[in-house]
Every structure is written in C-alpha cells, then in structure tokens.
C-alpha cells in the first residue's frame, strides 16, 4: 500500500487520457494490458480496437515481461521478448492459431500456418527474405480486427487494397523481376471494375484466385481450374476442345493467354478477330473457324437488336409487347449461352444456341410487323368513317338548302 502512495503522483502525471479513464488500482494488473499501457498508451488504444483484447489475450502473451511491475526495468524483465522479429512472427501467431483445441470454439481453421509455409510468402521468408508479407502485414500488428469487421484490412472488400500495399509498389516488385502492376491491371479489368467500382460481391478479389494464407500464383495447367471455380460451364466446354492439351504442351496459361490474368477485358465476340491471331495465321483454318462463330453470333445479335427496336416502337404506340419482351430476353439468354460453348471450338455446338436466339428474334419481328400492319386497317376504317361523314354532311347541306328556300318564300 505504501508503494502505491509513492507511485500514484507519477502515474497521474504520465498516464494518457485512456489510461486515466480506467479506475486506478495500481496493485493489480489493469485490464488485460496490465501496466503496459501506462507507457505504451498509443499501442494500448490500438490493441483495444482489436479482437484479441476481448478474448483474454494480453500484451505479455506475445511480448513477455511483467504486467504488474510499476517501473520500466521491472516491466521489461522476466522472459521479456520485446518486438518479435519479422521472421518469427508466423510461428508466434501459430502458437495459438495452429492449436486445433484452442481454435475449435471459435470455429476458426488451424491450418493457416501450414498453408502459409507452402505459399510464396512463406517460402521466401524461410529463405531469409525480409520483404515478404507476414501475418501482421495483412491482419495488423496490435489492432487485429475480425475478418467481418469492415474496418479490417482482410474484410473482403478491403483485400485488393491490402494486397496492393506491396503488390502495387512498383519499386518493391521490380526487385522480384516483375514489371507489371497487378493491382492497377486488376482494377482496369472486368473483375476489378465489377468488384471495386460496381460493388459486386460476385466478382473475385485477389484471394479468390490466389488463396490467402497459401497465396501462390496458379501453376501452368491449373489456370483453367482456378477460373473454372466460377466459370464452370466455360471450363467444361474448354476441356472438351483441343486447346487444353495443345496449350499445356506449348507451355501456355490456358484462360489467361486469351483473356489476360489481371487486366481481363470484358469478353466480347470481337475478341475472335484478335486473340486467335496471337497463335494462328490470319488465313489458317482456325481463324476461319473463329470467323464462322463470330458470324453466327453477330447475325443473331443483329436480329435481336432489330426486334428490340421494333418492340420499343410498338410499345410507344402502345401495343401489347410484354410477351415479346420476355421472348427477346429468352433469345438473349440463348445468345449468352453461346459464349461458353465457343470454348469447345466447334461451330456445330455453337450453332443451336445462336440459331435459337436468331429464330426467336425473327419470330418476334415478324409478329410485330403483322401487328403494325394491322394498323393499316385503322386507316381503311378512317376512310369508311369519312365516307359516312361526308354522306351525313351532304344530307345536311340538302336539308339546309331546302330550309333556306323555305325561308325565302
């Protein structure tokens, strides 16, 4: 008790606002931080934002030392480790997070450390590379938040910017012989636009293709499997076609060779004019096949466009066009279905889809033409109407003349 009387004035003079807010009972460890926060007030504020604080993890769990000591020397004694070295961090975190029994109540996986050791990050770290990401680079040092906390760096929407902290750094990437900027490429591609700009959660961020703890670029021959997680139908048709074997043999990344892996442009039928020429000659049979598929597609697309304009025109009159709209939607679906099928590189597989789309559109067009032609009869009716109108007028004029003659008499 005597010691408390000596320390109290010093404590009050140095304590931060956060520390002062706590009830002062210097004899016992104060909260999970103990006395550490008296000096390390900033760190303490960060720590209290995180998830570990509420789970009974204390400063000493990672840093060692004596949380009850009231002097700097006393606190930094007794197994005090200070700041862990970068290369020790994964193992330190794993001391709890690889413990199946400890992780089970939280329903958290306990294989992250094992995965990390297989990743590019983990392997380079083992070789002594200090630049690669360790746990704290993505999860935070003291302010470790839950994955579903929107302020967390590993919250799904924040992942591209978290990875970009290193992978968007051109100077850092240059050291590893990478001239591209994966983040900028991703942001400009169809996935990045969908995820970052349009807020779609269906579009992938970095980890959906690369994995998180076991982050590694997909190897040769695996690209179609990674893309196929979402583009399952396209993958199925791709495996049917001749490209899979040929590309693996030639050492080409399957999907990425035509679609690019980060800067993926929106898929369009115009790609058939360009991407095939990367490998095939302009007058080759393969390029002719591409042209055939493109023609099938564009003919159907043009027919749908024409029908769409007719439907709009008829709707303005207004004619009843709801069922035509539904049928055109059906035609568009068929047309969209032809995209995955094209990856089988077999026009006879594509044709049923484009033909169905085209014939629906043609049907709609011809039915609307018939309906619009029906309006011709309105004009015929108008003619008949005027005939009777003029007849009435003639009768009236006659009657008027007679009345005028009577008036003269």
């Amino acid at each position: 008790m005597k010691a408390a009387w000596i320390v109290l004035p010093a404590l009050l003079a140095t304590a931060s606002v956060a520390a002062a807010a706590e009830p002062a009972s210097p004899a016992a460890p104060r909260g999970v931080g103990g006395m550490c926060g008296v000096c390390h007030s900033e760190v303490r504020v960060q720590f209290e934002q995180g998830i570990h604080r509420s789970e009974g993890i204390a400063c000493t769990t990672c840093h060692g030392g004596d949380p009850t000591a009231t002097t700097v020397e006393g606190a930094h004694r007794g197994g005090f480790r200070g700041a862990p070295r970068r290369r020790d961090i994964p193992a330190l975190c794993a001391s709890c997070h690889a413990d199946v029994a400890r992780m089970r109540p939280y329903n958290l996986p306990s294989d992250q450390f094992a995965l990390y050791q297989t990743s590019q990050h983990g392997q380079r770290l083992a070789k002594g590379d200090p630049n690669v990401a360790v746990c704290t680079d993505c999860h935070g040092v003291h302010e470790i938040r839950r994955r579903d906390d929107p302020n967390s760096r590993v919250f799904p929407r924040n992942i591209p910017s978290t990875c970009a902290r290193c992978h968007g750094d051109a100077a850092l990437m240059k050291k590893y012989g990478r001239a591209d900027n994966p983040y900028a490429d991703y942001a400009a591609g169809v996935h990045g636009i969908a995820f970052l700009k349009n807020g779609s959660d269906a579009a992938p961020e970095c980890t959906r293709c690369h994995g998180s703890h076991g982050a590694t670029p997909p190897g040769l021959g695996d690209v179609e499997k990674v893309c196929g997680q979402c583009h399952a139908t396209t993958r199925q048709y791709f495996l049917e076609g001749p490209h899979k074997k040929a590309m693996d043999a030639a050492g080409l990344q399957e999907c990425a060779t035509c679609h690019h892996h980060h800067h993926t442009p929106p898929a369009s039928v115009e790609m058939l004019d360009r991407v095939c020429l990367q490998c095939h000659a302009a007058d080759s049979a393969q390029q002719k096949l591409a042209a055939t598929m493109k023609t099938m597609f564009t003919e159907a697309a043009q027919e749908i466009d024409r029908a769409h304009r007719l439907v709009e025109e008829a709707g303005r009159i207004p004619l009843y066009v709801e069922d035509y709209k539904a049928r055109l939607e059906d035609a568009r679906t068929s047309l969209m279905e032809s995209f995955p099928v094209m990856h089988a590189l077999n026009p006879s597989r594509v044709e049923p889809h484009t033909r169905r789309a085209r014939s629906i559109a043609l049907e709609v067009s011809s039915e609307i033409h018939a309906k619009l032609a029906g309006r011709f009869w309105h004009k015929v009716g108008l003619g008949v109407f005027w005939f009777y109108l003029l007849l009435t007028a003639a009768i009236l004029v006659r009657a008027r003349r007679r009345a005028a003659a009577e008036g003269q008499r």
């Binding site: 009716g381 109407f385 005027w386 004029v397 008027r400 005028a404």
Partner: protein
C-alpha cells in the same frame, strides 16, 4: 303511316300534358346551342317552329363560331373524359398501368384517349384564337367588357384543366412537364401558394395526383361550365358582334344546319387526328430521372421564358408579380382602352400593339423552348 304519325303526335301531346318539353328544350338555348329563346308557354313544336323561323341574329356565322365550337369541344371532352375515368386509377402506383391498359386492352380505348388529347389541344387553340379575334376585331369595349374578361378567364381555367390532365397518365413526359410548369406557377405571388395549397403541397406524389384528378374531372370542368354559361348569357344580352355584322335574312333553321355541319366536320377532324397523329406513349414516370428536354407546356413557355429573362438580381416573386400585372392588364383591357369597338383601320395604335404583343409572345415561346434544349 297516318295511324303511326297520329300515334306519335298523340304521345307527344300526352307527354306534353305532363312535362313542359319546351322548357326542357330551352336548356339548349341557355348554353347557346340554339341561338334563340324559346317561348316556354307554347308547345314544343310550335315554339321551335317560331324560334327557327326567326331571322338569323348576327352571331353564329363564320367566323363567329369559335365560342360554340369551344363549347362543343368541351362536351366532347366531357364525354370522352368520362369514358376514360371508367378505367383510370388515380394513384401513383396504378395510374400508368391503367392508362396503358386503356390504350392497349380496352376496346376503342386508344381512340377515346387520343380524341380526348386532341380535343383538349384544339380547345386551347380555339380559346386562344377567340381572344386574338376579339382583340383585333375591337370586340371588347362598349358593353362587351364582361365577354372579354370571360374569354380570358375561360382560356386560363382551360390551361389549368390541361395542366392537371397532363400529370394523370403518370408517364415521364407528363410528370416532368408538370414539374416544370409548377416552377412557373410557384413564382407567382398569391396564385402560386394558393395553387400549391389546393393541390396539397409543393411536391408531386400520389396525394397530389389525387388532387389533380379531382381538379381535372370535377372542379375545373364545373368552373368552365359556369364560365361558358356566363359567356353565352352575356352574348345573348349584348349581341355577339352586332356592330360589325351585316343584317341577314336567313332563318335560324339554316343556322342550325350550319352548326350540325360544323359538328360533323369537327368530329371528323378529331377522329382523323387521333388515328393519323396519335400522341406516342412514354415510359412510366421516374421521380429520380429527369429526361432531357423537359419543358413546361406550350402555354407556359412564354411566362417561363419571361421569368428567366430577368437579370439574376431580381427576386423570383417580383418576376412573378410582373407576370400577374401583365395578366391583369390584359384582363382589364376594356377599361384601359376605351377606343375599342371601332373598325381596325381607325385604331392603328391598338392593332400595332397587338401585332407586337403576338410577335413577342412567339419569340418568348421560341426562347422558352430553347432554354431547355441548350442545357
């Protein structure tokens, strides 16, 4: 034949003994459809024969048919509007669907809808033409002050009826035209707040739509009916354009045939316009998307352009007050210009002023139209 004719006569006599048919028929003359008074003490046929063989009063001959034409258009609008109201649903969520269904699913719905549209357009044009004719004919002085003021009020009320009707389909064009029109009316002191109060607030929501509906189908038509009645009543009192028209020896019966001919051709014109120049349908109103080129209706384009022509320093209510002063000056013109009623050649100043005013009006409409296109 004789027996049938006799039977009919006896039925009329039977009815005549129980109902004053002449009095009922005289309602027609009250509204000017029959340009003569019936002696209600006499039996119908006798009273009609007497009235119809009267010499023709100076009115009811071209171009003095604008008044009667506008009243016939009003009747067409009443009938077609009533037919539309059988299917129309005045709520923001149902209005567009119900108008679409009138035009698409209801037998002859398009025709009735388009006839209603074209009758309204023609009514406004004819009412405006009547005012112009009254002015250049000098027919607003010498006991015709009331007729002039009634013509002005009829046109104004008819524009309000048109304005309230434009919102009812709840399509994008109607909705945004109303929004732009209310920017003009809101600038008017007194009239603006009163109108805002009557329609239930400055916004445009389902409740305002209901108020517009009630104004459009009940209140404004009743006001128009009263104005038409007062107009015809005053015309019978002072004679339509007695000073200018030469006396005629044609009988009223002939005039009645003329009137029927005019009605026949008017209906022909309405049906032809409705079929050959149908108003195209727009998409449903979306309060969050202003389509480009949203403008007030044509009769508010001039005031709109005038409001926007002031230097930015002038507060909006002052601009509105200027508009109201202009309107009041035109409304009370008979008391300002006492030289009216003379032949056009003898009042060159008034004619010149009228031409300048018309040209100015045309320029303002042109400007009001291009105010939006330039955005």
């Amino acid at each position: 034949m004789r027996a049938r004719a006799g039977g009919r006569r006896s039925f009329r006599t039977w009815l005549e003994a129980r109902l004053n048919l002449t009095e009922i028929a005289s309602f027609l003359s009250v509204f000017g459809l029959l340009p003569a008074e019936l002696d209600t003490r006499k039996p119908l046929r006798e009273a009609l024969d007497e009235a119809l063989s009267q010499p023709l009063p100076s009115h009811a001959r071209w171009p003095r048919i604008l008044g009667i034409l506008s009243f016939i258009l009003f009747l067409v609008l009443s009938v077609s509007g009533m037919m539309l109201s059988f299917y129309y649903q005045p709520t923001a969520s149902e209005a567009y669907g119900s108008v679409t269904s009138i035009a698409r699913d209801v037998t002859a719905g398009t025709l009735v809808n388009q006839v209603h549209h074209w009758a309204a357009t023609l009514l406004l044009l004819i009412l405006a033409a009547r005012i112009i004719r009254f002015y250049f004919g000098g027919m607003y002085g010498r006991s015709r002050e009331v007729i002039w003021m009634l013509a002005m009020l009829t046109f104004t009320v008819a524009t309000f009826a048109d304005l309230t009707g434009r919102l009812l389909p709840w399509d994008a064009r109607g909705y945004w035209t109303t929004v732009r029109a209310r920017e003009v009316t809101d600038a008017l002191p007194i009239v603006g707040p009163v109108f805002s109060f009557v329609v239930g607030g400055p916004g445009l929501d389902s409740l305002v739509l209901t108020r517009f509906y009630v104004l459009h189908i009940i209140v404004l038509p009743l006001v128009l009916l009263v104005l038409f009645y007062l107009h015809f009543s005053s015309a019978r009192r002072v004679g339509l354009s007695a000073g200018a028209a030469p006396p005629s020896n044609r009988s009223l019966r002939v005039t009645l045939y003329d009137l029927l001919l005019v009605i026949v051709f008017l209906i022909g014109a309405l049906v032809t316009l409705a079929i050959l120049l149908p108003q195209p349908f727009d998409t449903a109103a979306d309060p969050f998307t202003t389509p480009p080129g949203s403008r007030p209706p044509w009769y508010l384009l001039g005031p709109h352009a005038l409001l926007e022509s002031f230097p930015p320093l002038v507060p909006r209510f002052l601009r509105g007050a200027f508009l109201e002063a202009l309107f009041a000056a035109v409304l009370f013109l008979p008391f300002l210009d006492r030289r009216s009623g003379e032949r056009p050649g003898r009042r060159p100043m008034a004619i010149a002023l009228g031409i300048v005013a018309l040209l100015l009006w045309a320029v303002l409409i042109w400007k009001g139209w291009h105010l939006e296109a330039s955005r």
